[in-house]
Symmetry: C2
Subunit: 318 residues, 2 copies
């Protein structure tokens, strides 16, 4: 595989990916694009996933057992649902190589630290992480090299984390195309509760509300979904097991944000009931300003109808 130009050798000699869903497979693509890993080992739970990982060339070696994947690895990234972290960490812990870096891509970080850290032996460096990128698709075939380009990866190192290892992991994510931000696991979980977890929950919720109406048929919901609803269904198409684990493991922050969401919704509901046009218009106008901020920050484009993942759209539309 390609080498890192600056040193004549790759940043990591063996990258182990535990799980090759959307994120794991995208890390494989992006790491090979960057030429920063000597070899990639991966493990996947099901025979079907292993077969796809091999067919797609996601790894030099594809294993059923995470223990086999981590042997000799100097960078190990857990890319499984958060609910599986504890068991995986306990299994691989005794087989980790001294000096290796262990990270993860879980959507909640306090629970990830709680479940992984106790199994990491002395001399191995654990730094939890979360790339803020994704699509509504899942599985080994869903990954692509550009997923992280221009997005943010949040790392949540413990106060006593090894500085050199942290610097290497930051550099790794930058080479995958990401920007890197550091914060505590608890703050991460609060930020993601509002930017990701609650939005997904209400998307799932409205899709189910719509599916259980008596006076509007499923076929009508589907036919007339272009009026806004279909964008919610895209978000609600994300992996159910991954999301179950997110909500089970970020309970407090999600419940707090949900409480605020519901309070605000009741205020809007009241404005509708009493025909309070100025309040409605004011609140709708405010929301537009946030949208402008996101476009200015390069996290979406102004292009109507599509616009997520800037680089891919640009590439395909030229």
């Amino acid at each position: 595989m390609a080498r890192d130009d600056s040193e004549g050798k790759p940043m990591f000699k063996r990258l182990a990916l535990i799980g090759v869903g959307l994120i794991g497979s995208s890390i494989s693509h992006a790491a090979r694009r960057a030429g920063i890993v000597g070899e990639i080992a991966c493990s996947a739970l099901t025979a079907a996933e292993r077969q796809r990982a091999e067919a797609l060339g996601l790894a030099t070696k594809v294993y059923a057992d995470p223990v086999d994947a981590v042997k000799g690895a100097d960078l190990i990234i857990l890319c499984a649902p958060v609910g599986a972290f504890k068991e995986i960490a306990e299994a691989i812990g005794p087989h980790l190589e001294k000096g290796a870096i262990v990270s993860d891509v879980g959507s909640v970080k306090a629970a990830a630290v709680r479940d992984i850290a106790p199994s990491i032996p002395d001399g191995v460096h654990f730094i939890a992480g979360h790339p803020i990128a994704g699509t509504e698709q899942s599985g080994p075939d869903a990954g692509f090299a550009e997923l992280f380009d221009g997005r943010w990866c949040i790392l949540t190192p413990a106060p006593d984390a090894d500085a050199a290892s942290l610097a290497r992991l930051e550099e790794f994510w930058r080479k995958l195309g990401s920007n890197v931000e550091l914060m505590t696991p608890e703050h991460h979980d609060m930020v993601l509760a509002i930017t990701s977890h609650v939005p997904h929950l209400i998307a799932y919720n409205i899709v189910n509300t719509a599916a259980h109406l008596e006076r509007v048929t499923d076929s009508e919901v589907i036919k007339f979904s272009a009026a806004g609803f279909r964008d919610f269904t895209r978000i609600a198409a994300s992996d159910p097991v991954m999301w179950r684990d997110v909500f089970l493991n970020n309970k407090e922050a999600v419940l707090e944000m949900l409480g605020r969401f519901s309070e605000d919704l009741v205020a809007l509901q009241r404005a509708i009931r009493f025909g309070d046009g100025p309040t409605l218009e004011h609140m709708f106008t405010e929301a537009r300003a946030v949208r402008r901020g996101i476009i200015q920050a390069g996290q979406d484009t102004e292009q109507p109808d599509f616009g997520r993942n800037v680089s891919r759209v640009r590439e395909k539309s030229r």
Copy 2:
């Protein structure tokens, strides 16, 4: 302008568009693409909009006063916010030509019928309509000819509507690229409350909830929006005045659907609080099935990251 092949003359000799925002300007583009109108007259409220309408060639004649636009028109479509319908209808009523068809594109239909029908003189045929298509952008520059391709246009004719006029209006929308469905105004308002109005309301709501947190900064919300939130901001970027009028004019159906949404959300909230994984996974899995239905019905594509407006994406991605 181009002629209708079958008859050697256009379907309508003069199309009048009252308002040239996203929908009005798209009708102009699509009608010219189809070659089904002799000339297009339009009116717009502001000088800036009129200047853009002229620069974009949206109409043969651009007027400030709707009364001037409707003179001699055999098809008149109100493309203004729903709250302006009554005043417009009262103004143009006395100037409508015998045999003309009057329609609209408002997102609520019972209120549109209530506000427009009383001003329509005998011998003029009013049939309310609503094309289920759009983007998050607004204004004369936002329109494009393909907006209606493969989407649905709902018409809500009164039981005694003129059959020949209804057939002509249906044909007009088909030539713009739409499928056509007929239903009562009341049923339309119920269907759209769940597929469009409530989704927009909760998108506006979560954007505002996020903007008013103390412990998460606006800059963090924006930076990490790629995790789901940014898709809500896109929906919440739609025109505030148009949406104010929607909620003021579809109060009962919106409040009913909001009530159901909140009930269902409380059930999910409870499952999170008590750590009920099977319920969460079950509800998330159900939502996926609705998504598959939408893709099978051609109202979205499976392509990740973008996928709205099938024809444009296809064209650009080949």
